[in-house]
Symmetry: C2
Subunit: 450 residues, 2 copies
Amino acid sequence: MHEFDARISGNRGIALKKLRQIGGSICAPHGFRAGAVFCDIKRLGTGKGSEKGRKNDLALIVSDFSAAVAGMFTTNQLRAAPVRLSAKRAALTFARAIVANSGNANACTGARGLRDAEQMCSLAADALHLNKNDVLVCSTGRIGISIPMENVTRGIKACAPLLASSSQNARATADAIMTSDTRRKEVAVEFKIGKSPVRIGGICKGAGMIEPKMTRTGALHATMLAFITSDAAIAPALLKRALGIAVRQSFNCISIDGDMSTNDAVIALANGAAENAKITSAGSESFRDFQRALNLVTLALAKMIVRDGEGATRFVTLRVTGVGSSRDADAVARAIAKSALAKTSWHGGDPNWGRILCAIGYSGAAVNESRVSIGYSSPRQPKIIFGFRCGKPTSTSILQLANIVSGPEFDIHISLDAGTAGTTFYTSDLTEDYVSFNKGDMSDPESLGG
Amino acid sequence: MHEFDARISGNRGIALKKLRQIGGSICAPHGFRAGAVFCDIKRLGTGKGSEKGRKNDLALIVSDFSAAVAGMFTTNQLRAAPVRLSAKRAALTFARAIVANSGNANACTGARGLRDAEQMCSLAADALHLNKNDVLVCSTGRIGISIPMENVTRGIKACAPLLASSSQNARATADAIMTSDTRRKEVAVEFKIGKSPVRIGGICKGAGMIEPKMTRTGALHATMLAFITSDAAIAPALLKRALGIAVRQSFNCISIDGDMSTNDAVIALANGAAENAKITSAGSESFRDFQRALNLVTLALAKMIVRDGEGATRFVTLRVTGVGSSRDADAVARAIAKSALAKTSWHGGDPNWGRILCAIGYSGAAVNESRVSIGYSSPRQPKIIFGFRCGKPTSTSILQLANIVSGPEFDIHISLDAGTAGTTFYTSDLTEDYVSFNKGDMSDPESLGG
């Protein structure tokens, strides 16, 4: 896992012996099973099917034991029915299972949408012999079209008997939630709490309509979904706390196209099967170790989403420092990450710090022009080269900066020299391919309204 | 003027006999002269010239009489030196002239930038035998590069003797301020105050980095600039009031790419040469007539900018109604106008109200899903056809809506049914050509940092 290694090498203080990446994802932790089937959810919803759509589209993830549950959900006010329902259930203490589908977001589907989301949980509960309140639901795909419940019903019934704890099943699950994604996204780690080996695994999806801002009670379409499993024994309140912290430094620090979906959700289940001494204090070493591992897992998954951004050719890390407040730091990062002009310039290998300055200026953050600096670095050019320093252009040749920006991955260092707050934010370029991919095609009605 | 006629036909109550469009632009009002020259402002700033850049790039606009002055300027915090200077002078009561250039924005150029902007005013004042405090300055072009004052000096000296009140000179002036614009933007009207014929004329530029939010004290690169002249006799305070109202319903209601420039400025001069009974009361009929004419001129110019949007193939009017507050109405319109996914969908002729719903949901405006309606109309299809009504998709075929959205011009009607506020906002689609135009080209260093 490229993301993962980079992060560890950047934190030399971490005792690597205590944490290592392992194979697999959501089935790596003990006591979890998963599986996926194809039940043609997109076809009936749009009246027409196509061979290209014949990928798995419904998945189940089940914990064999009652698991502490936590969730973070979109803050889009038009949040989808499954988000509304799952946010309620993630606010409880324990849960057992997640039913997830691609092909239909069950968003903007009114009262029927809520009934359908409830029904999906009930169907999964019945098939798995669980209480329906122990099942959460997530959907991604088209919005404003009711989800075809006949297909969902068939899919859940077909999926339940197939569940297994194999990494093959975990991969099938990761594939089932993909929409415009071109790559499967999964990761797992193992570390120790006391003498007990503990595992955290995760899968996620997302490539467009990506600028999540999630909260516990939140509300947001292509959507990002992430499912995290762990066999750690941890108090539900602490799992919720840890997930909030982890999401704020990962999924909430990415933007591909600036569109916040109606369906973004991250759900974590921790079932205690590792039999570690239960984590019950936020001040404990075991909580810190769990938090660190969860941060690594969520950040690795979040970066995979940005790397798979629709049409993207650049992976850009914005390192914002010297800002007056965290809120301002976030505003600066988001303004740059969402600037059509900054993003297109990167696509052409143009450093164009002028467009970055412009975005800083309208971000709303407090800024003094004479103190602003903008520099560039990359894995092959780790020393920061400034294009603009302390309010003035440097004498650095634009071609030297362009060499960095024409690579597939680079960092932009922005300092306002106005305080001590900062943030690290991940984004991509804006390309002709993004536009081509997302524009409809009237000759193919199937492509419209997607 | 297409824009202009459309607006009038939409206001049947207006006594057309009192207001008519006339030829020309800023030199149509009596007592104004203008002119432009080429002095190669871009060449020296970047160390390389090209034949394609040999268009006029410096202009002067002069009133033969002391004129009431008003200005609205970018709210970007990193506002350019000429904006800082002109905002101060527009806060005074009277002025005589404007010096404007393209090719260099004189933005993010530190203390030298401010001295250069002052110097431009002084040079123009000397050449025109005016007081330097009576001269305002506007610049547009690259940012972060000091403006080549030798060229500017040569240009101002060459331009001053050429000034004339011909429409040819007005056109040359409109051309001189163009950057990525593909079309000249100019308009003029005549109406009566009492028995006196009064004229208002205007020119503007802008095609990218367009989402102006201007105030009187404001602070924003491709930039929008507009210069309005009138021979009305009007109290300076009322000209400022009228310009504020006019800009809020025109230039502040457009977005091409969502990037607010460091240089946006609108400057109005009214010199009293029409010898009308001076407008001295905001409650007077003459003020209302002046306001209406100014609104028409600014709206016509603002729409020309959107129609000339970089790479744009659609002119989209967002008609937002039933919103709880004006602030929310503005938030809804801007969220849709800035959504990369909504804008790309239009490019393909895809109505995709799902993406519009998504943008409404994250706009921050108070919204109740079950009350939202989204409809489409166009000049050839004036009846509104709803795709989503009162929280539910309609049975309208997506192809019927796609027929509207695949045209060059259409309206999207958004009602939240949550209040009485609303707004009308103008925007364009996001196309592959926008990306191609704005990405740099490393094989042509001249294209970088633009």
